[in-house]
């Protein structure tokens, strides 16, 4: 049965934050939940779930209706009707899937073009898949190639030379609100990679200091030390809001932690000093109504998307170059994968030949009598083996040549398998994979 690579998912371009909130899969084990069953329909899987995208990378049988199967599984996991996913998801197959994955890894599909954060998230997702045992030959190779492609893009183009990120956009906005950041203090609510990045950006842009408020004070203190700031317990959040002007929130709280009605009181006590909220949490931490108050500015993760678009214009050219690199790498990967399909075919062909040779050799040795001459046996053995190798040599080199041509590899291998009736023979799937591993790790 032929294996195909599928990539099904949604991202910030196809789905709004409410859909992404509902269909986030932060901790999902494809093995335990039955997505990967050892029946050949789905043999490998990796799930990437960030605040901007949820994607399934699946290697499975060509025949099954993979898209519908994944969408059903996904909706079940989230306890949501699968109909809500319709119209928000995409499904890429084969080289399109590989291309999409490489594009994502190179942060060409990120909300902010060139933001390298996705690479870390992808590495985490891959590590999870490896630990759960659902990443095998193809996913392994695919992810390693995705990482090296991302590295090439980073070093060979200027796409990531300057910080283009949510945090960069946030700092730019803060500059539109406040004249001089050195007179203002920032507050970090909750921890998280993106929030810490934003805090780092603010510090390097000259913000006076950083206060950290976290549910677990110890973690907050640790973070505060990192930024040479101070930590405050979560209960004193309102006090912290009185003393700071730029607030970055990224807690895992399922409900809003700052509400519009609490904010009115805070504003009075602040004597209406402007305050800028950056809500990068999904689900959102800050009541959206807060933006309606005077001197309060709120940007959530989707709003920041709008802001950065203008910064992107200059990076389009770099992105074009990067897409060229991605295309090269996709071609290289697909050639490897097609060769991978050729490899087991060659192995199966040689196995078949040796099997016939051994059978015929046994018959011939029997005819030599009870005590055959060892020298004679050795000669016969050599004869049988070299015959089979010589016979299979031409078809194999023909297949190898053909498989270098684009698109025709699959067809010729398919024909060869039928011609030699290779699939009648039960070759255990594990044996295939072992050989693929050997080829892949070369």
């Amino acid at each position: 049965m032929n294996q195909e690579i599928y990539l099904v998912g949604l991202n910030h371009k196809t789905a709004g934050v409410d859909i992404r909130e509902r269909f986030a899969l932060t901790d999902c084990d494809p093995a335990a939940t039955g997505l990967v069953i050892d029946n050949g329909v789905v043999s490998e899987a990796m799930i990437l779930s960030t605040c901007n995208r949820v994607e399934f990378l699946v290697v499975g049988s060509e025949e099954a209706d993979m898209r519908a199967k994944i969408l059903r599984f996904w909706a079940d996991q989230c306890g949501q009707p699968s109909g809500d996913l319709e119209g928000h998801t995409y499904c890429h197959v084969g080289d399109d899937a590989v291309n999409h994955l490489f594009t994502v890894a190179s942060s060409l599909d990120s909300m902010i073009l060139g933001e390298p954060q996705i690479l870390g998230q992808l590495k985490t997702a891959y590590r999870n898949a490896v630990e759960k045992g659902v990443a095998k030959v193809i996913v392994n190779r695919l992810l390693h190639k995705a990482f090296s492609t991302a590295k090439r893009v980073r070093t060979e183009t200027a796409i990531a030379s300057s910080a283009v990120s949510i945090s960069y956009a946030a700092v730019e906005l803060a500059r539109k609100i406040f004249n001089d950041l050195t007179n203002h203090r920032a507050l970090l609510i909750g921890a998280g990679e993106m929030a810490e990045l934003a805090a780092t950006h603010l510090l390097s842009s000259g913000v006076r200091d950083i206060t950290v408020v976290n549910r677990t004070l110890a973690k907050g203190e640790e973070l505060a030390r990192q930024f040479k700031g101070r930590a405050m317990p979560f209960e004193e959040l309102h006090q912290a809001l009185l003393e700071t002007d730029i607030v970055i929130s990224s807690t895992g709280s399922p409900t809003a932690i700052i509400r519009a009605k609490d904010m009115k009181d805070v504003l009075r006590k602040r004597r209406h000093k402007p305050i800028f909220f950056i809500d990068i949490a999904v689900p959102r931490d800050i009541d959206p109504d807060i933006n309606g108050l005077d001197n309060v500015y709120l940007y959530d993760i989707d709003d920041l998307k709008e802001v950065v678009e203008e910064n992107l214009a200059g990076r389009m050219q770099e992105a074009q170059k990067a897409r060229g690199i991605v295309a090269e790498e996709v071609t290289a990967f697909m050639r490897w994968r097609d060769g991978l399909a050729l490899q087991p075919t060659i192995v199966a062909l040689l196995d078949q030949g040796e099997c016939i040779a051994r059978k015929e050799l046994r018959k011939s040795i029997k005819q030599l009598g009870p005590n055959p001459d060892p020298q004679m046996v050795a000669i016969l053995e050599r004869l049988a083996k070299s015959l089979c190798h010589k016979i299979y040599h031409e078809p194999i080199s023909y297949l190898k040549r053909r498989s270098l041509e684009e698109g025709s590899a699959q067809r010729f291998i398919h024909n060869a398998r039928r011609m030699f009736n290779l699939d009648e023979e039960a070759i255990p799937e594990d044996a295939h994979l072992d050989r693929k591993v050997q080829t892949g790790s070369k």
């Binding site: 539109k176 004249n179 004597r271 209406h272 402007p274 500015y297 940007y299 709008e306 802001v307 203008e310």
Partner: protein, 275 residues
């Protein structure tokens, strides 16, 4: 054309160049056009100062009977206040409003050149300078607050609605800068406006033996003062910032314009420039 006429024309042309080249520099994103605007405004201001000085030397106290002198002096104060704010706020954005206002006031001063005012006999230079000087400075500050207020509301709307900030807005200074212009206008302008009104009423009480003569200018000035006082109180005591002060400053400026254009030119009043 006499030499003084030519001189006035040059000043007007320089203000015109300043009014045109700054917005042009913003839209076309040419720094040199903005520098040109600053230099022509400065040159206009220098010549304007010379013009006023020459005129004062030539006519002496008789100057005070010319409508032209008042308008010209007001234009001069506007530009002066702009340069002070520019120095304090480190932003040239207010020249968007300064140069055009100076141009309008200066040109209208040329338009009323033949007007001679009926200045009351018991004219006191001290009271007069307190009355006219302070009102001109506070009017200039209100005009700045108006410009800053319009820019604030525009930028604030862009930020609040999360609109994509176009290249033009990228050049805009921060909201805080505009709010600070409002703060300056209110904290300095209101006391000056108050002094001006008090001086006017005191002068009136000496001259006409009555504090208020129900002159339209007096009425509209009292309304303006009440609104200004409200803004001053809310800003200084309650800590108003941002939108509300910006909007109030815009209304204040409109009231001042009504008072300036409507009363001084159209209605019968002892403030009128009409014969």
């Amino acid at each position: 054309m006499t030499a003084s006429r030519l001189f006035e024309l040059i000043i007007a042309l320089l203000y015109l160049s300043g009014s045109v080249s700054y917005p042009l520099g913003l839209v076309l994103r040419r720094a040199f056009l903005k520098r040109l605007a600053a230099w022509t405004s400065a040159a206009a201001f220098g010549l304007h100062t010379v013009d006023l000085a020459l005129r004062s030397l030539e006519l002496g106290a008789a100057n005070l009977q010319h409508g032209q002198f008042y308008m010209s002096l007001m234009a001069w104060f506007f530009v002066l206040i702009f340069f002070v704010l520019w120095w304090r706020l480190k932003h040239d954005f207010l020249s968007m409003i300064t140069a055009p206002l100076a141009l309008i006031l200066f040109s209208s001063s040329l338009a009323v050149r033949t007007q001679v005012l009926a200045v009351p006999e018991q004219f006191s230079v001290l009271w007069f300078s307190l009355h006219v000087g302070t009102i001109f400075v506070s009017l200039a500050l209100i005009a700045m607050a108006f410009g800053a207020g319009v820019a604030y509301l525009h930028l604030e709307r862009l930020i609040k609605t999360k609109a994509k900030l176009p290249g033009f807005s990228k050049e805009l200074p921060s909201l805080e800068t505009f709010d600070r212009a409002n703060h300056w206008a209110v904290s300095i302008g209101f006391p000056l406006y108050t002094i001006s009104l008090l001086a006017g009423f005191l002068w009136a009480s000496f001259t006409w033996k009555k504090v208020i003569s129900w002159d339209p200018k007096e009425l509209i000035s009292i309304v303006t003062w009440i609104l200004f006082a409200l803004l001053f109180h809310q800003r200084m005591v309650l800590g108003w910032r941002g939108r509300k002060p910006a909007k109030t400053a815009i209304i204040l400026f409109i009231l001042c314009l009504v008072s300036l254009v409507g009363v001084n030119f159209l209605l019968p009043s002892h403030h009128s420039f009409r014969q």
